[in-house]
Amino acid sequence: MAVTGTQVSPQTYLRSLSRWHPIEIIFWLSTLLPFWLFPTYLSLASQISVAALFALSLDLILGYAGIVSLGHAAFFGIGAYSAGLFSKFVWGEPFSGLIVGAAAAALLGFASSFIIARFRHLTLIMITLGLGLLLAEAANSASWLTGGSDGLQGVAIWPLFGIFKFDIYGTTSYAYSLAVLFVIFLMARRLIHSSFGLALRGIRENFVRMPAIGAPSREHIRKIYTIAAAMAGIAGAVIAQTTQTVSLETLDFQRSADVLVMLVLGGAGRLYGGLVGAAIFLIARDQLSGIAPQFWYFWIGILLVAVVMFLPNGILGGLSALLARWRTR
């Protein structure tokens, strides 16, 4: 929440922009509710945490730096496969698996960032799509490594801290994925309120103006792309570890499209948009998928059209606009 008025010194003002809002505290406290209120839904809750983290990583490049990516699942999948393979061949300890997933995804992100940073608009969208598809094809072909369409076999994750097993009840899974989400979220929040976060917003707000103030936009883009890739890789690693399986779905186009929808639904550029969007998307899909799958597609289609036409800043954007209007009554 910002403090306005010129009595406040500029430094104090900028510091106030990063203060924790009470709603944020309520939000995070409510993520603990499923343990008591929905104990049978903990695996779904765990999935939502993973998707939320994935959507958060996309928010950093899309909501803050303005890079539209149709291939972000590449990093999710790389993280998942790396963590899975690491547990199969080396060590099943979960936290080290996270590091491996992050590192692999960061490496791929860094390499592709050199390409990504050079292009804009449709060309960029197509290149992200193409790179994502390339990786998916490669993973499919390399079935000796990935298990192909059967999925990766032999993922063996050790119990957390040696005690808590990742079982079907999902308690450990949800606690683990929620904790990872929270920690990474804190880091992302810090980044957004740093001078680098300001630079990213500058890139999104006016790409042309950035070089005119001496900003090396391409370097900034490469940096955030790598960071976002690492975060997506961590999300992928978590899903591999909590479900003890990795399939080709983790890097296919459908997943890239789904995370984009989740983020836009919640509202990009607001840090919490991806989290809210992921929750709504997955809960709705869980409830509606019992009925025919086409039903789901229909409603997602309607939703997308509605969001673009009526809620351009997603649900959170709509809520904050509503709040602003209520305040000025």
Binding site: L62, V68, L70, I115, R118, F119, H121, L122, T123, I125, M126, I127, L129, G130, L131, L133, L134, E137, A138, N140, S141, F253, A257, L260, V261, V264, A292, Q294, F295, Y297, F298, I300, G301, I302, L303, L304, V305, V307, V308, M309, P312
Partner: protein
């Protein structure tokens, strides 16, 4: 005796012709208005289903359904353009992508609702099926027909763009929209007509594709990727670019399927990424 590689080439070109019909409309409308329409293949799907309904329920002959497929897709596109797309010409890339993907999702769901999720078979007239022998190669009659249609459409489009006043208006608007408006060209009307024509061609492509690709509700997405690749590689706003890219992609895909099937679509995606990095506006693109 022609070597089998010529047969592969011919099959690839026939495949490319189909892709050309599906892509050229998107290429021109993208070049004209920079409007990213990912629902383009949904119009193709509509054309396909129109043909299916006309042939299977109303027993129309195949060739009679083709103009109907064209017209239905064109008409549908006019309606959608007027109600929705028109408001988003100045919107961001992302908004256009999301809106048109939403339309595509809706069309997939609607198609599944009415026609189910299985493939729709149609009965080709007997003289269209089968193949004949040409210098030792097995040439499928239908593929030859496709090549003919493709070339005819290409020539008709190039003639229309080069020789008619409307074509000149399209070229002017693709080249420099602001200047075209300044000269008094009604760019919005030009775009609406071009959009209808492009969608109509997609509908025609969808109808013709039933025999080669089959038709199910996922058609709207299955070929969208290839269409996007052709449009990006060929260059936005370039008719000849679409033609060249479609042939390139068609031949590559068939050749890979024939000679190195393990590669899958890898080569196509690689070609796209490499071409876009080398020429971001596509091989024949302007911007």
């Amino acid at each position: 005796m022609l070597p089998p590689v010529i047969g592969v080439l011919f099959d690839g070109i026939a495949y490319g012709m189909l892709l050309f019909l599906l892509s050229v409309g998107l290429s021109v409308t993208l070049g004209l208005m920079n409007f990213v329409n990912l629902a383009h293949c949904a119009f193709a799907m509509l054309g396909g289903y129109v043909t299916v309904v006309l042939m299977n329920s109303l027993h129309w002959p195949f060739f009679a359904t083709l103009p109907a497929a064209f017209a239905a897709a064109a008409l549908a596109s006019v309606v959608v353009e007027r109600i929705l797309f028109r408001r988003l010409y100045r919107a961001s890339d992302l908004d256009q992508v999301l809106l048109t993907i939403g339309i595509a999702f809706i069309s997939v769901a609607v198609a599944a609702w009415f026609f189910g999720t299985t493939q729709q078979p149609i009965d080709m007239p007997a003289y269209m099926r089968g193949s004949f022998n040409f210098l030792g190669l097995n040439i499928a009659v239908y593929r030859l027909f496709l090549v003919g249609v493709g070339i005819a459409v290409l020539l008709a489009l190039i003639a229309a763009v080069d020789k008619t006043r409307f074509g000149a208006q399209v070229r002017a608007a693709v080249d420099n929209q602001r200047m075209a408006r300044g000269l008094g060209i009604d760019v919005d009307r030009t775009f609406a007509i071009t959009f209808a024509l492009g969608s109509g061609l997609a509908g025609l492509g969808g109808a013709l594709a039933i025999e080669i690709f089959g038709l199910d509700p996922n058609f709207a997405f299955t070929y969208l990727v290839y269409v996007l690749i052709i449009v990006s590689v060929g260059g936005l706003g370039s008719i000849f670019g679409s033609f060249a890219a479609a042939c390139l992609i068609g031949i590559s895909d068939i050749a890979v399927k024939y000679y190195v099937p393990e590669l899958g679509a890898f080569l196509i995606y690689l070609v796209m990424v490499v071409v876009l990095m080398w020429r971001p506006a596509g091989l024949f693109g302007r911007r």
